[in-house]
């Protein structure tokens, strides 16, 4: 295990989280079309950062940095990572960040069609979770995990975790569609709003089931209980932020421009959603890891365990 590689993977994941916040700020300020061109802004790499161009071009600069960091991560992986599938995941991350950049350009050139904007927002979350996964796979706790955990109960834990992941992803798509369906000075469409609220209930039920199942079945296994506890905590925060985002967003059409607290709370809601997704990814990956150890207990004493 290479500590430097793991730390770099953590850096990329952290930078990506910051990029998600930067992107959310663009949407909440309605700054997506502050400049008509791409990838430069008004023909410049360093334009005057005034008005909404501050948010849009700032987002592009952070995105460029994340792209460069991802390239660096892939190089680092091919240099130091012995597991081929992890190196391949690094390449997947690179493809995703390039696709994400192209989607960003398309949103500007096509004047923010809803589905392109939604895809851009969703791919951002998927890319973030890919970088989080790379950080997990390069971590010491993952590489050195040896404990055999016997699965209890009739419903496999991994099924619950995957169900939580899928539910969260669908909710993220709904949330992205909702955010991009109306600018700050228009009310959100009622049907989408109700669907997103319904999605929140579904996420709460499925994620809570998965997390509580972990806590109940394997109370002493911090490898599993830690991400489960964090996910539960973030879920509560996210639900509260959702209510606050709804209340502040109701009022924004009466405001002269996008203002706080609406901007801050809607951005926090997006960011916390990303953290819920990421923590659930960690929980799911570790659940698969722990169960694999049980079914492949023979591998604990063979050299090939290093492949995991």
């Amino acid at each position: 295990m290479n500590k430097g590689l793991h730390r770099f993977a953590l850096l990329v994941a952290s930078a990506t989280f910051f990029l998600i916040i930067a992107g959310a700020l663009v949407t909440s300020h309605d700054a997506g079309l502050a400049t008509e061109d791409w990838p430069l802004s008004n023909g410049q790499f360093f334009p005057a950062m005034v008005g909404n161009l501050f948010w849009e071009h700032g987002h592009r600069m952070v995105a460029t940095s994340v792209g460069l960091l991802t390239i660096g991560l892939v190089i680092f992986l091919f240099w130091k990572e012995e597991r081929r599938w992890v190196r391949r995941l690094g390449v997947v991350a690179l493809i995703a960040v390039i696709a994400q950049g192209l989607l960003g350009g398309l949103t500007v050139k096509l004047l923010l069609p809803l589905w392109v904007s939604t895809a851009h927002a969703t791919l951002a979350q998927l890319f973030f979770c890919t970088t989080v996964s790379l950080a997990v796979f390069t971590s010491r706790s993952w590489r050195e995990f040896r404990t055999t955990i016997e699965e209890k109960g009739t419903l496999p834990l991994t099924y619950l975790c995957v169900a939580a992941l899928v539910t969260i992803l669908l909710q993220l798509v709904l949330g992205a569609t909702l955010r991009h369906s109306a600018t700050w000075d228009k009310h959100l469409p009622t049907e989408l709003l109700l669907a997103h609220v319904g999605g929140a209930v579904a996420v709460a039920l499925v994620l809570a089931s998965a997390a509580f199942t972990i806590l109940r079945r394997h109370p002493g296994e911090t490898f599993l209980t830690r991400p489960a506890t964090i996910a539960l905590g973030l879920l509560v925060v996210q639900l509260l932020l959702g209510v606050a985002a709804y209340i502040t967003r109701l009022k924004s059409p009466d405001d002269p421009q996008p203002l706080n607290p609406m901007v801050g709370i809607t951005v926090a809601h997006v960011a916390c959603g990303a953290l819920v997704f990421a923590t659930t990814i960690v929980m799911t990956l570790r659940a698969f890891r722990a169960l694999r150890s049980e079914t492949h207990a023979w591998a604990a004493n063979t050299p090939s365990v290093s492949r995991i």
Binding site: G51, L89, L102, L111, V116, P256
Partner: protein, 290 residues
Amino acid sequence: MFKPMKVWLVLTIVLSILALASSCGKPATNDATPEATTSGKPFTPGSGTIDGAIAYNGTPPAPKKVATDADPACGQANPNLTTEDTVAKDGKLANVFVYIKDGATADGTKIGDYAFSTPSDAVTLDQKGCQYRPHVLGIQANQKLRITNSDPTQHNIHPTPKNNPEWNQTQPNGAGPIEKTFARSEVLIPVKCNQHPWMKAYVGVLKHPLFAVSGENGAYSIKGLQPGTYTVAAWHEKGGPNGTEKTMQVTVPASGGGKADFAFGDAATASTTGGLQMMPALEIPLIGRH
């Protein structure tokens, strides 16, 4: 390959392909087929007018102060920058777009069957004090709209029409005017600045020149009418997701003019005077994307 990683690989690739494929479709608003404005019986302007006043009933909402921290040049150019969605003074409402929506001249020819020549002179929309000037304007289809930037900062002009192609263009301070046309009638096209989100304007595009915008005293005057009976519509940006429109029928006699007063705000009404036929005012929220 680790099984969950396969799931993410497939998801990422599929989503990327779907997103790129979804963007390949031609946006519906890019239909630029010009509306026929010059076919039909040539319209000869008459001496008739429809005059009126737009009232505001009740207490109008106070203008809201705009924060200009993000672009100090706006605060310097216009220290008292406020919103302009309801400009009402002494019970009179400004920035109401009044136009001939339908009707026929005295010989029975419908207004829509006339041909109207497109003016060669342009209508100017200026950006001054980080506000659009004027806030509401009318223009004929295919007539030039000249957009100027009189501010010491950069602006971005972004009309969001439904019947015309959408566009978005940056205009730095000191840049020359931008000239555009709208090929199809549309009442009204919102215009926004993506740099300064409080900036809004509305452009009414019509086949004919029979329109006016109420001034600060609420008064308006539509000139050049032939004798006939017309449906007059008055539109204001508040009161619904796409503004509020009221209509009434007005008859313009052989000599003289017609009168049509409208009212917005609380318990709003519409009225005509001078022996003209009156119909109940109708609240018709315009169907629009925004």
